[in-house]
């Protein structure tokens, strides 16, 4: 079928009633004189017709007389035991993340292999891991400050740092930015 690339999408928008104003008039005028667009719209019409016919014919065969009762049954059914709910949730999660489990297992295996090979090569794993923990001495260098003056625009916050168990005072001046 010959198509009209410039107006094909616009013709479909016109067919769906999604064009307004001057563009609508322009596309209508074009379609009236374009064989390719007229055929495209006729094909869309036929596609809608056969699709609707197919879905309608299937829906007509469905017996809806017990539809509500079945929903009511679902609503008044006692809650499922926790292990059944867990299994259903698990099945849903698996369906949504088909690669989740293999990828997670592969990542865990890689991490384990890396740690094992590092310890086999006498790599100081403990000190390597401890480098990720916060250094208390680094906190200590910031633990002293002097407040010279306070104004109405200054906010003072005081909290306890959970890792080093040290009190922290935070002074924020809206005019000059944060001053620890």
């Amino acid at each position: 079928m010959v198509n009209c690339p410039r107006y094909e999408r616009l013709a479909a928008l016109l067919y769906d009633g999604e064009l307004h104003g001057p563009l609508r008039r322009e596309v209508r005028a074009h379609v009236a004189g374009c064989v390719a667009c007229t055929r495209w719209l006729a094909a869309l019409d036929r596609l809608h017709e056969v699709l609707l016919q197919e879905v309608d014919s299937q829906i007509e065969r469905i017996d809806f007389s017990h539809f509500w009762e079945q929903i009511e049954g679902k609503l008044s059914a006692p809650p499922l035991p926790w292990f059944v709910r867990f299994r259903l949730q698990w099945a849903r999660w698996q369906a949504r993340q088909p690669l989740g489990i293999p990828l997670g297992a592969a990542a865990a295996a890689l991490l384990l292999a890396a740690l094992l090979s590092l310890s086999y090569l006498d790599f100081p794993v403990d000190s390597f891991l401890s480098s990720f923990r916060p250094n208390p001495s680094r906190l200590a260098t910031y633990s002293q400050a002097q407040i010279e003056s306070l104004s109405a625009a200054t906010t003072v916050a005081l909290w306890n740092e959970p890792i080093s168990n040290a009190p922290v005072i935070w002074i924020e001046d809206d005019r000059d930015g944060a001053v620890p």
Binding site: D16, A43, V50, E54, W68, A95
Partner: protein, 189 residues
């Protein structure tokens, strides 16, 4: 006078099951049509639709009145149908084939009306099969957009609300789905 969706939803939020029943009866065919279009199986479509309505009732308090009820309902049914389709695609092939055979037997067992022309019936059945096969070729996102547009007659704005995507995405998905179906059903169109 028929109560509006908004009034029925309000009554549902107060625990009125009769109001919910009215909503179900108002939308059951439309919801099953979308589910059927997505799943191509009447039993699955019925089950997913009932599950969707049950979910609507249990989470009606989460529904915000600024959106329309039916776009929210369609969103739930489309998501459940996509989940069901994914679960089915993970089922073993043999089990699926058994189910499909059972389904086709059920279709054959439906009595024909005496005035129907057997030739026309065969032709219609073949066309139906070709249409089902063509829709099955589409991705769930493309199926949803074409069903909501053609079967439910939703506007692009409403479809974008249901599928939580932009209007531009709706436009391009719809265009792609139509072109694909047109190519697959060339002899029929």
């Amino acid at each position: 006078m028929e109560a509006s969706d908004w009034e029925l939803v309000k009554r549902c939020k107060e625990g009125d099951r009769q109001a919910f029943r009215e909503l179900v009866e108002r939308y059951q065919r439309k919801v099953v049509a979308v589910a059927y279009g997505m799943l191509h199986d009447r039993e699955d479509a019925l089950e997913v639709s009932q599950e969707a309505f049950a979910k609507v009732f249990t989470s009606i308090h989460q529904f915000k009145e600024e959106a329309s009820f039916y776009t929210w309902l369609y969103r739930i049914v489309v998501n459940l149908a996509i989940d069901r389709q994914r679960q089915k695609s993970r089922q073993p092939q043999l089990e699926r084939e058994d189910q499909e055979e059972e389904e086709s037997n059920r279709v054959e067992a439906i009595p024909d009306t005496p005035e129907a022309d057997p030739y026309e019936q065969t032709k219609d059945r073949e066309l139906g099969e070709r249409i089902r096969a063509a829709i099955a070729e589409l991705t769930p996102a493309h199926k949803a957009v074409i069903l909501l547009r053609i079967v439910e007659g939703l506007s692009y704005e409403e479809i974008s609300e249901v599928l939580q995507c932009s209007r531009g995405t709706v436009m391009s998905r719809l265009h792609y789905a139509r072109k694909r179906l047109q190519a697959l059903l060339r002899s029929e169109l």
